[in-house]
């Protein structure tokens, strides 16, 4: 198992309890944790903080904010922001093989396309699962970057 010390993680989660538990676990692993409680913050923090990875709760209040956040980050003019790996936290059973459908106003991705994210985690994710997923995503990001 690797070491996550010094990794900067942005947690985008509207449920304060869930956010706090994530923060506790991540801090125990030596990560620096920034929190965003809504989609707006979720969009501005990556730009201002340049985290190493984003943990995103996909189903924020309206149901579609999470999706749009992902697509907006991927369209960001700043390349660094575009390349930040995103791990999506979903409460719905991970193996129901859901596809995510954007609403009609979205023109970037077509319906039925998968979200352009690097990983999915089923809530509740154990500390081990969380750690493993972050490590996996970060090592992939290293190997794919030039």
């Amino acid at each position: 198992m690797g070491d996550l010390t010094g990794t900067k993680v942005l947690v985008v989660e509207d449920d304060p309890d869930a956010a706090e538990t994530l923060e506790i676990v991540l801090k125990d692993e030596g990560c620096a944790v920034i929190r965003a409680a809504d989609a707006q913050d979720g969009l501005s923090k990556p730009r201002s903080e340049k985290p190493d990875v984003v943990l995103l709760d996909i189903m924020m209040p309206s149901g579609t904010e999470g999706f749009h956040l992902v697509w907006n980050l991927r369209k960001d003019p700043d390349e660094q922001v575009r390349d930040i790996p995103i791990i999506v936290l979903i409460a719905i059973h991970g193996t129901t093989r859901l596809r995510f459908y954007p609403d009609q106003s979205d023109t970037v991705y077509g319906p039925g396309e998968f979200l352009p994210v690097q990983g999915f985690l089923d809530k509740p994710a154990s500390s081990e699962q969380l750690k493993a997923k972050i490590e996996e995503v970060l090592s992939q990001a290293k190997t794919s970057s030039p």
């Binding site: 309890d17 869930a18 538990t21 994530l22 409460a91 129901t96 093989r97 596809r99 809530k123 509740p124």
Partner: protein, 472 residues
């Protein structure tokens, strides 16, 4: 001449136009026929005809038909029903006039071609209304009788056909009476018969048009209702997704909060506290499983009429899922084998549902098999069917439990005693999915000796290539 239009609506109007074109074509044939007869009769039969007037009338007939042809082809389609009807009536009346002229110039009342008035009555009954037809019949009788009487009384000249009759009959009262009576009654009866037939035909046509309109309306209604149903199905599924989130999200947070305390991350925890919190965590995880399974079950029960149907290749699906199954089995120290044909085995199904079904069966098999045991997944193609068989060497299902295990929330006693968790919904979900796809499920095996579950699904017809199931 007609007082009411024969065409009451668009279909009838269209037909009338077609019939008029047909009449014009027929008339060209008549022109040729008359010309040929006039030319051939003297030469073949040796009769003597007044050919000049006959040819003149024929030429006029041809000219009139040319005008009729132009009118019928080039007059805009916006012409009203009444105008078209008058056009038809005018033609019939003119035809009667021309026939009378031709008959007059070739023997008058002595001319057997007087029979030809019948054609016009029949044609009239096809084109015109009932009343108009009778009126035209009256015109025919008037024209013929008038011509015969005027010839007989010397008002107009008689054009005798030498060689046809030995005597001159056209002035004989008995003969005239007989011929006129015959012609008049023939035409009237003919009109009666022909109009009876055509009026029935028109009624049937009108019924058919009405039927087809009503059919189209119903088809439109059906399509709209189906769209609504489909929308409902989509809304239902979306609702289920949202419900799943709203149930599971808080439970997930709850579990994490308990975990974080349990793991000592918020400070020291007494042994008893740890035990209690662990038990609480377990209950929360059970609730999470229950919420998930309930929602999967609800989804499986959304009407199959409105759920998704794609061509799914079961062989490819199993292939994709094999790695995950192997991992599951390895964690439980159970050996797993997956066998499927090298050819595609296609069914018409909701890809997510089928994946869920197979996942459920394999998870069950692995869960209830003790370490060192075996689980085998076999896919087979049979005529018209695809069969998936998942067998294990696990705790088995007692015979007396076979009927109940598909019930919601029901777990067989040996399963409950196994120490393994379960919501009691796994097989309910499998059954719901199987039924939604028109398949069948069977269970074999004995308690303590393992279980074999076989699911058969109708195979998809051999048409297009299938869509691979994507997994996130």
């Amino acid at each position: 001449m007609a007082t009411e239009p024969a065409a009451a609506n668009d279909v009838e109007l269209e037909e009338l136009r077609d019939r008029i074109s047909w009449l014009v074509r027929l008339r060209w044939i008549a022109v040729l026929g008359v010309f040929a007869t006039v030319a051939a009769a003297p030469r073949l039969l040796g009769v003597q005809l007044d050919e000049r007037p006959l040819h003149l009338v024929t030429a006029l007939l041809a000219g009139y038909n040319l005008v009729a042809w132009i009118v019928s082809r080039f007059v805009p389609a916006a012409a009203q029903g009444a105008a078209v009807s008058y056009f038809a009536n005018a033609q019939i009346a003119l035809d009667l006039g021309f026939l009378t002229a031709l008959v007059h110039y070739s023997g008058g009342a002595e001319n057997p071609f007087a029979f030809y008035y019948v054609f016009h009555v029949v044609i009239g009954s096809i084109l015109l209304s009932r009343i108009a037809t009778y009126l035209q019949v009256s015109l025919a009788i008037v024209l013929f009788s008038g011509m015969a009487l005027l010839e007989a009384t010397g008002v107009i000249s008689h054009h005798h056909v030498e060689g046809l009759f030995a005597e001159e009959l056209y002035r004989q009262p008995v003969y005239l009476t007989a011929v006129l009576f015959c012609v008049a009654t023939t035409l009237c009866l003919c009109a009666f018969l022909a109009t009876s037939i055509t009026s029935r035909l028109r009624r049937r046509e009108a019924e058919i048009v009405q039927l087809s309109t009503s059919l189209k309306e119903h088809a439109d209604e059906l399509a709209a209702a189906y769209d609504e149903l489909r929308q409902l199905g989509v809304q239902q599924t979306e609702y289920l997704h949202r419900a799943a989130h709203h149930l599971r999200s808080p439970l997930a947070s709850l579990e994490r909060m308990l975990a974080v305390v349990c793991e000592g991350r918020t400070g020291p925890v007494s042994e008893k506290s740890q035990e209690m919190i662990e038990r609480a965590r377990l209950r929360v995880r059970q609730m999470l499983d229950l919420a998930r399974d309930l929602l999967v079950l609800s989804r499986a029960r959304v009407s199959s009429a409105v759920s998704r149907r794609d061509r799914v290749d079961l062989a490819a699906l199993l292939h994709d899922m094999a790695a995950e199954f192997e991992q599951q089995a390895a964690s439980a120290s159970v050996s797993l084998s997956v066998s499927c044909p090298s050819m595609p085995v296609e069914v018409q199904a909701d890809p997510e549902a089928i994946a869920e079904l197979i996942d459920n069966l394999v998870s069950n098999a692995v869960k209830y098999t003790t370490p060192g045991g075996r689980v085998a997944v076999v896919l087979e193609r049979r005529p018209g069917l695809a069969e998936i068989r998942v067998s294990d060497t696990g705790i088995g299902i007692p015979a007396e439990e076979r009927d109940r295990i598909f019930e919601e929330f029901y777990r067989a006693p040996n399963a409950q005693d196994s120490g393994k968790d379960g919501t009691g919904l796994g097989l309910s979900i499998v059954k719901a999915i199987v039924e939604a796809h028109g398949g069948a499920i069977g269970i074999d095996g004995r308690e303590g000796e393992g279980t074999a579950v076989s699911v058969t699904l109708p195979a998809a017809s051999r048409v297009a290539p299938s869509v691979p199931v994507n997994r996130p």
